[in-house]
């Protein structure tokens, strides 16, 4: 007994030492990750710059990082032929958001409905697979012919792209619900609505929210493509205009702007995910960390 108490402070010291070592190893690892990231960016962008500068790659066709930066600055300071970049960006974002909301709502509602009704899903299922297999981007042409050059067709195309992503996830989410949980609340006297509120929807929420990450990307793609097909405003129009004048730098600049918007939206969705799914055990998959 006495020998143990004698050794206690020593053990304590060793533990502190171990802790410090572990902490140092973690910091070192993080530093190296950031060094690697920075290096990768320098190699890719620097390489692009160098190849175009020495003329191995023609910058007339492939652009050049410094020129992309200049285009970016020009977009924000001088604006475009169709108004300031902010106006155009706002229109594109509105279209994407509109499509995102409409597509998500439709996808969730239909997904839950079909997921919980076997007969309905057996009847409608094949048609949904057929519609899903047609190249939906082409629908944009029809929407523009039918509804004109306004925001409507853009929202619609974005919504169509978003719908299928969310729908399949919501459907699968409902199908994966633990049947024991449903039996449990049904025995306790739950009505079909209560089963949906207490079990089906919360359970499918994990799947639905996971799909929202991809869905917002699709909303932006839908809005941009519809704008490229025909528009009076928007980032897509700036891109077609730049394409028409052989200006790859402005196209790249627009890509950068859209990437920033998408990353911002992604961040907001992650916040939503955290608050809605705080019941989940931490670190479910490595893929989420990327």
């Amino acid at each position: 007994m006495t020998s143990i108490t004698h050794k206690a402070p020593l053990v304590h010291e060793e533990e502190a030492q171990l802790k410090a070592d572990a902490h140092r190893a973690m910091t070192l690892r993080k530093t190296w990750i950031w060094v690697g990231r920075a290096l990768l960016a320098v190699v890719v962008i620097g390489g692009w710059q160098w190849f175009t500068a020495v003329g191995l790659v023609d910058k007339f066709f492939f652009g050049q990082p410094t020129e992309v930066w200049n285009s970016l600055v020009r977009l924000f300071t001088e604006g475009t032929a169709f108004g300031t970049i902010w106006e155009n960006l706002w229109i594109t974002v509105q279209e994407a958001l509109g499509g995102f909301v409409v597509g998500t709502l439709a996808g969730v509602i239909l997904g839950i409905l079909l997921g919980s009704n076997r007969y309905l899903s057996d009847v409608v299922g094949p048609y949904i697979r057929i519609v899903n297999s047609i190249p939906r981007i082409v629908l944009g042409s029809i929407f523009i012919v039918a509804f004109g050059l306004g925001m409507g067709p853009k929202v619609l195309l974005a919504a169509v792209l978003v719908f299928f992503v969310v729908f399949f996830n919501a459907f699968q989410g409902v199908r994966e619900v633990d049947q024991n949980l449903i039996s449990n609340v049904r025995v306790l006297g739950a009505s079909p609505l209560q089963v949906a509120m207490h079990v089906t929807i919360p359970s499918a929420m994990t799947w639905i929210i996971a799909s929202l990450h991809t869905a917002f990307g699709f909303a932006i793609i839908g809005a941009l493509v519809a704008e490229v097909l025909g528009a009076q405003h928007g980032v897509g129009l700036i891109i077609t205009q730049a394409q028409g004048t052989f200006d790859p730098n402005t196209v790249f600049a627009c890509m950068v702007i859209i990437a920033v918007v998408t990353l911002g939206a992604e961040y907001l969705i992650s916040l939503l995910e955290h608050s809605l799914l705080k019941w989940r055990p931490p670190s479910r998959s490595e893929a989420q960390a990327i």
């Binding site: 024991n180 039996s183 025995v187 306790l188 019941w279």
Partner: protein, 291 residues
């Protein structure tokens, strides 16, 4: 130990289908029950055939049988989640059509809501019966205290150990003071030590409320230690082979201790000799060996 009358005085439990004990509400009568399922290939599969069984109010009845002999199917018919193909189930003198009132279920996989806190998991029973939230919360807190989980109400199920999750499930199953408790291998997935603890706790809680219990298990020791009556089912299609009355005195006390008593071993031996043939036959069926 809190008694039923205390629970009623607190006003938290629904009295229209209150716990077993005196009244006849918990009497389960199964008559000639047969259940066939349609397989995806379009064939019929008979899960149970001509099962007849009576469970007296407040009786603890264990069902033992080989894997896939239709034990769970029997429970599903009693709860009203499924409808019999032939025969009938009456609970408290009324034929089961639709969901039976005053029934609680406990499964092997703890059917807890992973997205609800411990408190909200226990709370769901009274809430679904339309009890006001505040009253339900009080009742749930009381039940959490009873199963020894006071102070854990804000945790999520994934933060609890297997035994704690079982206790939450038990509180959730008993909070409505059911007249019938259906348990489908509730402790099947627990380690031996935790299992023994949970069995003791279940017996204690059951003796306080005295619902009728249908308890499915593979574990013969568990069946003998807990039940008043052990029913042996034959291998598929399931029917009742034998019924054994367990005359060990109540309260049983520690299930670990009772296992060594002479009468326990005697009963266990009798039941095992009846069960053994069925288990062997079921094994041969599933293993593809000609019987």
């Amino acid at each position: 130990m809190t008694t039923v009358s205390e629970l009623h005085r607190r006003g938290g439990s629904p009295t229209d289908h209150g716990g077993g004990g005196g009244d006849n509400g918990g009497r389960i009568e199964i008559h000639g029950l047969t259940k066939r399922y349609l397989t995806p290939k379009g064939e019929t599969f008979t899960a149970i055939r001509d099962v007849s069984l009576t469970v007296e109010p407040g009786q603890f009845c264990a069902i033992v049988g080989p894997t896939g002999c239709g034990k769970s199917t029997t429970l599903a018919q009693v709860s009203g989640l499924e409808h019999p193909s032939a025969g009938s189930v009456t609970v408290g003198g009324r034929t089961v059509e639709g969901i039976t009132n005053g029934v609680s279920y406990m499964f092997q996989a703890d059917a807890l809501f992973p997205w609800k806190t411990v408190l909200n998991n226990v709370l769901i029973g009274p809430v679904l019966l339309g009890t006001p939230k505040r009253e339900a919360t009080e009742l749930a807190m009381d039940w959490l205290r009873r199963v020894g989980l006071a102070g854990f109400e804000d945790r999520y199920p994934h933060q609890l150990s297997g035994g704690m999750r079982k206790r939450v499930a038990m509180a959730a199953a008993l909070i409505n003071n059911p007249r019938i408790l259906l348990m489908d291998e509730p402790f099947g997935a627990l380690d031996v030590q935790t299992k023994a603890i949970m069995q003791n706790e279940l017996l204690q809680l059951w003796e306080g409320l005295r619902p009728s219990v249908l308890f499915i298990t593979h574990d013969l020791d568990e069946a003998v230690a807990l039940a008043d009556k052990v029913v042996i089912m034959t291998s598929s299609p399931g029917s009742i082979k034998n019924v054994f009355d367990i005359d060990l005195p109540r309260p049983r006390g520690d299930v670990q201790q009772i296992r060594h008593e002479e009468r326990f071993l005697e009963l266990q031996g009798q039941i095992w000799s009846s069960l053994k043939d069925e288990v062997t036959r079921a094994y041969k069926q599933t293993a593809g060996v000609p019987a």
